[in-house]
Structure formats: structure tokens, C-alpha cells
């Protein structure tokens, strides 16, 4: 029988250390909604999404109550729209984004992701329409998230798309300039995007997936931090072991919620994504974990090593706890969403260059970083290219979610609100890479892609 101390340990994790199920994400295939008529396509996707996900929020709330653990978000991911909508031959997909927004509001979810295109090797006419529609789509909707995959370790990098996405990020910032350029917080540019990620803004339902699937994202940086308090001064073996054990426990809770949600919704279970995803709340921060490990601030020498061992041991604990660990699983390092990161960036301990180094060993990439609004598009493309190169060469997912805040410069702050938090605007290297980006074409696949 469960002991009293085990009961208190679990409940302390939930009540004091911010353990939560960050999201139950329902992946929905929209390929069977294909139509040559745009308005018919919109009707069909609205119908399919609102039918499949009609009970998602209700079931999420029930499970929250029964297990006594918060399920912070309920979300939907869909087939990349550039694929599902290709048959419409429309010249703008903004109306599709608006339909998705309406469907998401109808079923009560927090986000819907998959206004996406996969252009790692080249873009179809439909991919181009989607990419051109992103700024307007993100300005006119609230819950729609967009992502574009511009490279893979298998295919190399599509530098035409890298160049274009720099412009798209800036256009999106301008179109939402009155709201702190928040449109950019809903746009991710990936290298090696994964098809079953439940986290936003990069979630989409991959083409190799079932018709409908439940993926669950669990989080708990606060729990890891608290666990590490018990091994202050201990050696690295003890440190790693503690992280691993904690990650195991957290993942088991996610597995339980995922199985139960899958049963009640009668939708197959896909994966558990164990990602330490911080929130702006005190005690729910990756940077505070670094401090607990012995660094004065995030960004101090040693930060990359600390992140590497954190990420690795989170994965090791996670894979032992569930047969289907997937998605991104590891430690996220968004700046605006993490109280300790915000502080470190504000006092100059954490720079963009150090963050780039950290992305070599974290679970994703440069995330939620506010930069000056007058940053040229080519510079944003250069940052995307650097980040994608790291992903391509190291066989890992990398991503860029930068927010050029129109009308603001270094030293000012921008407030996004809610889980997105607030951020100081960080300086960007001002030397130009415009001629480099202008070359266009493709970067061929790296040598280690030839594994056949």
C-alpha cells in the first residue's frame, strides 16, 4: 500500500513545486478534408476538428479533478496546412487560419498548431502560399500557431526558405506591432521538426501519424530544483541520479494521464513528451536549476555543461518511465517564459551568443528572445541559419522563435502576458550577413546523412 510519505511527496510536488501536466494535445489528420474549393475545405476542417475534439477540454478537466493535478493547457495539432490545403489552389490561406481559430474557440482549447509548411528541401506552390499568409494569419487570429521546417540532417538546409523566413518574422512583428509584436511568439522556424510534439508554438500532426492521436506534455522544473536542494555539494553522479529519478516520477504521472485521456476520448495514445518547460512563476525556472547546481546566474561559464547534463538525465529518467517517449523531451530554454532567465538577461549574464551555444545541448533552440525591432531581416535569417546548422550537423531538433519588438530597442522590455511572460530586449550582433543570405539555393546534406 502507498505510504503516507509518498502521498505527501506527490502532493507537495503539485502544490508547492508547480508539477503539472502542461498539455494534452490532440493530433488530428486533415488530409481527408482536401477539396478544390476553399470554402468547402474550410467547412470540412471546422467540422472535423470540432467533432474530434468536442470532449477534449471536458475530459481534461475531469482528469484534473480526479488526480488532483493541474492540466494547464488543452491543445490541438493538425496536419500541416500547406499539405492539407494544397488542393484548393487558393492564393491566400488566411481564411483557413481564421477557420482554425474559430474551431479552437468552439471546443475551448488554448492553442491550435499546424499552420505549417515543411520545406526542408524545397517549397511547393502551396508551401509558398502558406508562408506568405503567415503574417496576416497570425495578426488576425489568437490561438493559431505556425511553424516552418527549413532543414533536416537528411536533406540539408533550404536557404531560400531561410532568407524568406527572416522577412516573414519581421512582417509578422510589424503586423502585430500594437501588441508587442506578439505574432512572432506564435511562429517557430525549425530544423529537424518532430511530428508528434505536443508543445506550442511548434506542434503539428505529422503525415506519418494516425487519424487522431493523444500526445501529452509533462513539465516540472520546480520539482527538479527542489530535488536538487537535497544534494547540495554532492558530486555529479549524485546530481545526475537525482535528476533522473525525479524525471522518472514526473513522466509516470504523464503516462497515467495520457492513458486515461486516451481511453476516455477513445483516441489512441501517441507519446509522452517530458520537457522541463518553465513558466514566469517563481520556482518554475530552468535558470533556478542552474543556480541550484552551483552557477551564480544562467549564462555563467559552466552553463552549457549544466544544461547538457540536465537534458540528458531528464531523457534517461523519462525513457525508463514510459514506452513511448517522444516529441522534444528535454529542457526548454525560453527567455521570456523563465523568471531566472529574464533576470540573467537583464543583468547581462546571459547573451544571445551564450544562448546559441546552449541550444547545442538543450531540447530545442533559441526560444522567446526579444530583439530590437530595427534588426534587418537578413540578420534574423542569419540567426535562423546558424541555429539550423547546429541542428543539421548534430542530428537534433533546433528552432528559432525570435520576437523583433517594433519600436523598441536594447534596454527596454516587452510584456506578452500569461505563460509567454515578459522579456528584456537583447542586443544582436550588428555586423551584416546580407550577402551571405542573398546567395539562396540549398546547403547540401551533411556527410553523416549518408547512412544507407
Amino acid at each position: 500500500m502507498i505510504s503516507r510519505s509518498e502521498i505527501w511527496e506527490t502532493n507537495k510536488m503539485i502544490q508547492e513545486e508547480n508539477l503539472d501536466v502542461r498539455t494534452i494535445t490532440m493530433g488530428i489528420n486533415l488530409m481527408d478534408c482536401a477539396d478544390s474549393d476553399l470554402s468547402r475545405f474550410n467547412e470540412k476542417i471546422y467540422e472535423k476538428i470540432t467533432t474530434k475534439a468536442k470532449d477534449l477540454v471536458k475530459v481534461g478537466q475531469q482528469l484534473e479533478k480526479e488526480f488532483g493535478i493541474p492540466i494547464v493547457n488543452k491543445r490541438i495539432s493538425i496536419t500541416p496546412i500547406s499539405i492539407a490545403a494544397a488542393g484548393t489552389k487558393a492564393d491566400s490561406y488566411v481564411s483557413i487560419a481564421e477557420t482554425l481559430d474559430r474551431a479552437a474557440k468552439e471546443v475551448g482549447v488554448n492553442f491550435i498548431g499546424g499552420f505549417s509548411a515543411l520545406v526542408q528541401k524545397g517549397a511547393t506552390p502551396s508551401d509558398r502560399v502558406l508562408i506568405n499568409s503567415i503574417p496576416e494569419a497570425l495578426a488576425r487570429t489568437e490561438l493559431v500557431c505556425s511553424s516552418v521546417n527549413i532543414g533536416t540532417s537528411r536533406n540539408g538546409l533550404n536557404m531560400n526558405a531561410v532568407g524568406r523566413m527572416g522577412e516573414v518574422v519581421l512582417e509578422t512583428a510589424e503586423k502585430t506591432a500594437d501588441r508587442g509584436s506578439i505574432g512572432c511568439a506564435k511562429l517557430v522556424i525549425f530544423c529537424n521538426a518532430v511530428e508528434d510534439n505536443p508543445f506550442m508554438a511548434g506542434a503539428f500532426h505529422g503525415v506519418g501519424e494516425k487519424d487522431c492521436v493523444i500526445n501529452v506534455g509533462v513539465s516540472g522544473p520546480g520539482v527538479v530544483k527542489r530535488a536538487l536542494e537535497s544534494c547540495r555539494g554532492a558530486d555529479f553522479e549524485t546530481l545526475c541520479e537525482t535528476i533522473k529519478r525525479t524525471a522518472f516520477k514526473i513522466t509516470r504521472v504523464g503516462q497515467l494521464v495520457a492513458q486515461e485521456a486516451s481511453k476516455r476520448l477513445d483516441v489512441p495514445f501517441g507519446i509522452i513528451d517530458l520537457s522541463l518547460a518553465p513558466t514566469p512563476a517563481v520556482g518554475d525556472s530552468i535558470a533556478e536549476i542552474f543556480q541550484e547546481m552551483g552557477l551564480e546566474q544562467a549564462g555563467a561559464p559552466g552553463t552549457t555543461a549544466a544544461l547538457a547534463l540536465l537534458n540528458d538525465n531528464v531523457k534517461k529518467g523519462g525513457v525508463m518511465a514510459s514506452s513511448y517517449v517522444g516529441g522534444l523531451s528535454g529542457a526548454f530554454i525560453p527567455v521570456s517564459e523563465d523568471n531566472g532567465m529574464i533576470q540573467a538577461a537583464t543583468m547581462g549574464a546571459l547573451t544571445l551568443e551564450k544562448l546559441e551555444a546552449m541550444t547545442c545541448v538543450c531540447s530545442v533552440g533559441l526560444d522567446m528572445i526579444a530583439i530590437p525591432g530595427d534588426t534587418p531581416a537578413s540578420t534574423i535569417s542569419g540567426i535562423i541559419a546558424d541555429e539550423a546548422a547546429i541542428g543539421m550537423v548534430n542530428n537534433k531538433t533546433t528552432a528559432v522563435r525570435l520576437v523583433p519588438v517594433i519600436g523598441k530597442g536594447v534596454g527596454e522590455t516587452v510584456e506578452f502576458g500569461g505563460l509567454l511572460g515578459y522579456a528584456p530586449i537583447m542586443p544582436v550582433n550588428t555586423f551584416s550577413c546580407a550577402d551571405f543570405i542573398r546567395r539562396g539555393g540549398r546547403v547540401p546534406a551533411p556527410i553523416h546523412s549518408f547512412k544507407n
Binding site: W8, R252, Q255, L256
Partner: protein, 89 residues
């Protein structure tokens, strides 16, 4: 289905009685009960069997919330599975 009830709050007369009365009225059997009092604060854990109750989980949950208001101590009801998952392989 087994449930775990935890009660945390300032100790006073009748806390356990009120919780137990509610459980018996709803056909919920208590399998195990333990409590400690530290500096005047009651800390109680009960393991209960919910399968004998005709009321759905939601109703029992709501009922316990009413008891919570009456006695002024925090009451949590959770399915046992969450603890099993976390602490047992």
C-alpha cells in the same frame, strides 16, 4: 476504485467525524486512516474504497468541498492511481 483523501488544517473537534459521516452517507468504506498533529495542525491521510458508492466521482468531490468549507480545513480527494504510478514500478 480506490481514492486517497488528505486533510490538512488547524485541529479542532469534529473534523474526522464530519469527513467520516459524509463518507458513510455516501457508501464509501475507509480502508486505512492515519493522522498526526504537529503544532496544532492536523495532517490526515485516508485510503478509501469508492466502488461501493453510487454517486459519480464529481458528486463526491463536490460534497467533500462542502465539508471542506464547514470544517475550515483543506480536503483533497484523488484517485490512488496517481500515487501508484509515481512510486511503484
Amino acid at each position: 476504485m480506490k481514492g486517497i483523501i488528505t486533510v490538512l488544517g488547524k485541529d479542532k473537534v469534529g473534523i474526522i467525524a464530519k469527513v467520516c459521516l459524509f463518507l458513510s452517507e455516501n457508501g464509501i468504506n475507509i480502508l486505512d486512516i492515519s493522522q498526526t498533529i504537529v503544532q496544532g495542525y492536523l495532517n490526515m491521510v485516508m485510503i478509501v474504497d469508492l466502488s461501493g458508492s453510487k454517486a459519480p466521482f464529481d458528486e463526491i468531490y463536490a460534497g467533500l468541498k462542502k465539508v471542506e468549507e464547514e470544517i475550515g480545513a483543506q480536503i483533497l480527494l484523488q484517485r490512488e492511481d496517481i500515487f501508484d504510478s509515481m512510486h511503484r514500478i
